[in-house]
């Protein structure tokens, strides 16, 4: 590669638009939010920057702590389940024939061609108490109930008096199903690419040398694809933390996460300073997670080079 110091004008040509974009559309708005977070509402439309810390102190109100905690654990559990589902899918794609691979990838990427809102509404249709899954369950229930009638056990209501639909929505499960569904492709792509780069001979060597399937998976495959797994974890976990539409629709507004509180501050509560402080707090959490991941990768690389 050429040294850009020798071609400063070329460097400038490429650097300026990118930097300008970043400054204008990322750092400036973020800076405004940062200043707002130290502000006070002095009228309906005016915010005075008094460098107060009150907005940050309000982070420790019990309901805010509860919601932050719920956001973190729902996202963590959903991320883990997403990874557990994504890994075998990635293995199937990575080991598929070259002819099948692009088609399998297409199936994974296909949902991205549809807007998130529409996909979420589709989930409402599938998961509702009058949704498609419960339709099938009700059909099976009727079948079972009819069969019991036939063998003369109908009077005992063994399956219950009526079909009771499963409530997927309006609770934690609805939110988690939604998040896993939406972010699964994000997890498949990095895991798949780390599996693609893997030297298959290493797996054969492990099996030849007496390790079983499980040992090979645990001691060879997993460590060699750990970079892909940690990338997948981070890029699913971070957007999950900011989920807003999914708790609103699939949580039926009963299982709020922190982004729902942030949205209200900028709209109905009209409290931009507090909303800004909450958004920044979420951002700090994200930075910490990214730092931990970078640190872990660094250590892993170092360990590999030393060994």
């Amino acid at each position: 590669m050429e040294d850009f110091r020798k071609h400063f004008s070329v460097f400038l040509t490429f650097f300026t638009p990118t930097a300008g974009w970043l400054v204008l559309l990322f750092f400036v708005p973020l800076g405004i939010i940062w200043v707002y977070s130290f502000g006070e509402n002095i009228s309906l439309t005016e915010i005075k920057t008094t460098w107060t810390l009150d907005n940050y102190k309000r982070m420790f109100e019990p309901q805010i702590i509860t919601l932050f905690w719920r956001t973190v654990w729902l996202s963590t559990l959903s991320t883990i389940i997403t990874l557990v589902i994504a890994y075998p899918i990635s293995m199937v794609i990575a080991t598929a024939s070259n002819k099948a691979k692009p088609w399998l990838m297409l199936v994974i990427i296909l949902p991205f061609w549809t807007n998130l809102l529409i996909r979420t509404y589709a989930m409402l249709n599938i998961l509702g108490t009058r949704g498609r899954i419960n339709d099938v369950l009700e059909w099976l229930w009727n079948l079972g109930d009819g069969a019991l009638d036939l063998i003369g056990l109908g009077a005992f209501d063994l399956l219950g008096e009526h079909f009771a639909p499963i409530r997927f929505l309006g609770n934690n499960s609805g939110v988690m199903i939604g998040m896993i569904y939406v972010y699964l492709p994000f997890a498949v792509l990095p895991i798949y690419s780390s599996l693609e780069r893997l030297d298959r001979n290493l797996l054969e060597a492990s099996l030849d040398l007496g390790a079983g399937q499980w040992r090979t998976f645990r001691s060879v495959l997993l460590p060699l694809t750990s970079a892909g797994i940690s990338t997948a974890a981070v890029i699913t976990f971070i957007p999950m933390l900011g989920s807003f539409l999914i708790p609103n629709l699939l949580g039926r507004g009963k299982v709020d996460m922190i982004a729902n509180v942030i949205e209200r501050q900028f709209k109905s509560a009209n409290d931009w300073p507090f909303g800004s402080a909450l958004s920044l707090f979420l951002l700090y959490i994200t930075f910490i997670i990214l730092a931990i991941q970078a640190f872990a990768n660094m250590r892993a690389n170092k360990g590999r080079n030393d060994g």
């Binding site: 309901q63 309006g170 009963k254 209200r264």
Partner: protein, 356 residues
């Protein structure tokens, strides 16, 4: 006022037919403002031919933009008017905008059709003397219900807030203020009496009921009702009216304790580039025939008294549009309570949402 107003084909056809007759006797514009009018309104909240006929009558081109809710409208204007001439906020936001000095006073001499407005709307609490606003449509918040699934008409807020009869079959609105206000009505209090004890009592009532509530619907209570996911839905009457049009098994009632009355107003934001054209449009919309055509399409209650003679009984005697006198007497208009109370309401709401 509310979102998701879908034009209904039968009505749209009637409105279209009416418009053909209407073009022949267009009201002449009082002033020739000319130029362009930037109109910022709710979706499907104006008769299909009204803007076109206005342009034909006055030569003013209309640029028509849509907002989804009052919060969006307010957020867009709070740091300065980006160029709108005419906006349609709901009464409590009108109040906020008057307090924040965001509205231009109206020149009543440019609005001769003011004489058509129902006298009941002449001097509202949120804009004494109609200095800044003219009424556009009004309506209620009540209960939409599936007729075949209720034991009796759910004509009390107790059916939603304290009873367990409809556990797992109820959708509430997703708006903190409105939900707590309806709880206050059930307690026999004024919905604008925001003492700390009242907020706490309303919060406790909703918290105790939370496990029986199916959804705090962000803006789709009527969809849940239509899909059969719930049998009761606290909703804006317009949304339920639409559902009633699609499904005969759906009814609407404003509970006897009274509901919320809302009014959407035509107003001119400060810094409007073309206030003359805005006055002309406001006046045009208050014309008896134009208002009738508009009401027949939008299907909300019109405050233009003179419009009723041009509308049929199907509209004029519709109890979902016009509640009974007694119910109306118990109902209230929400008054903007100030930022401090708004914050307290939001905190109560966050506690309700945080509860497991």
């Amino acid at each position: 006022m509310r979102k998701n107003r879908m034009p209904i084909s039968r009505r749209a056809m009637l409105a279209g037919a009416g418009a053909v007759g209407l073009t022949l006797n267009l009201p002449k514009g009082a002033l020739a403002a000319g130029g362009k009018l930037n109109f910022y309104n709710w979706d499907t909240y104006i008769g299909e031919d009204i803007l076109g006929n206005f342009t034909k009558a006055t030569g003013v081109d209309v640029q028509y933009d849509l907002f989804a809710d009052n919060d969006e409208l307010f957020a867009k204007l709070r740091n300065g008017n980006p160029g709108y001439d005419l906006i349609v906020p709901t009464n409590d936001f009108v109040e906020r905008m008057i307090i924040a000095d965001m509205l231009e006073p109206l020149d009543h001499s440019k609005l001769p059709n003011m004489k058509n407005v129902d006298p009941a709307f002449a001097n509202p609490a949120h804009d004494p003397g109609r200095k800044y606003t003219m009424p556009y449509f009004w309506g209620t918040v009540g209960i939409g219900y599936r007729i075949s699934k209720v034991s009796k008409t759910p004509d009390s807020w107790a059916d939603m807030f304290t009873s367990d009869e409809y556990a797992g079959r109820m959708a509430f609105l997703g708006e903190a203020t409105t939900v707590l206000q309806m709880a206050l009505k059930l307690m026999g209090k004024s919905m604008n009496d925001w003492t700390d004890e009242n907020i706490a009592a309303a919060e406790a009532m909703v918290l105790a009921q939370k496990s029986r509530i199916t959804a705090f619907a962000p803006d789709n209570g009527q969809d849940l009702l239509l899909a059969g996911e719930v049998d009761l839905a606290m909703e804006w009457n317009g949304d339920i009216l639409q559902a009633m049009d699609e499904d005969d098994d759906i009814g609407y009632v404003v509970p006897k304790e009274g509901g919320l009355l809302w009014e959407d107003d035509l107003c001119i934001p400060k810094g409007a580039p073309n206030p003359d054209a805005a006055h002309e449009m406001i006046n045009y919309l208050m014309d008896a025939k134009v208002a009738a055509e508009n009401a027949d399409y939008v299907y909300y209650a019109t405050p233009i008294a003179a419009a009723h003679e041009h509308l049929g009984a199907e509209y004029n005697e519709n109890t979902a549009i016009f509640p009974s006198k007694e119910t109306l007497a118990n109902s209230e208009v929400s008054i903007y309570p100030g930022q401090e109370v708004i914050s307290k309401i939001d905190q109560a709401w966050t506690r309700i949402k945080a509860a497991g």
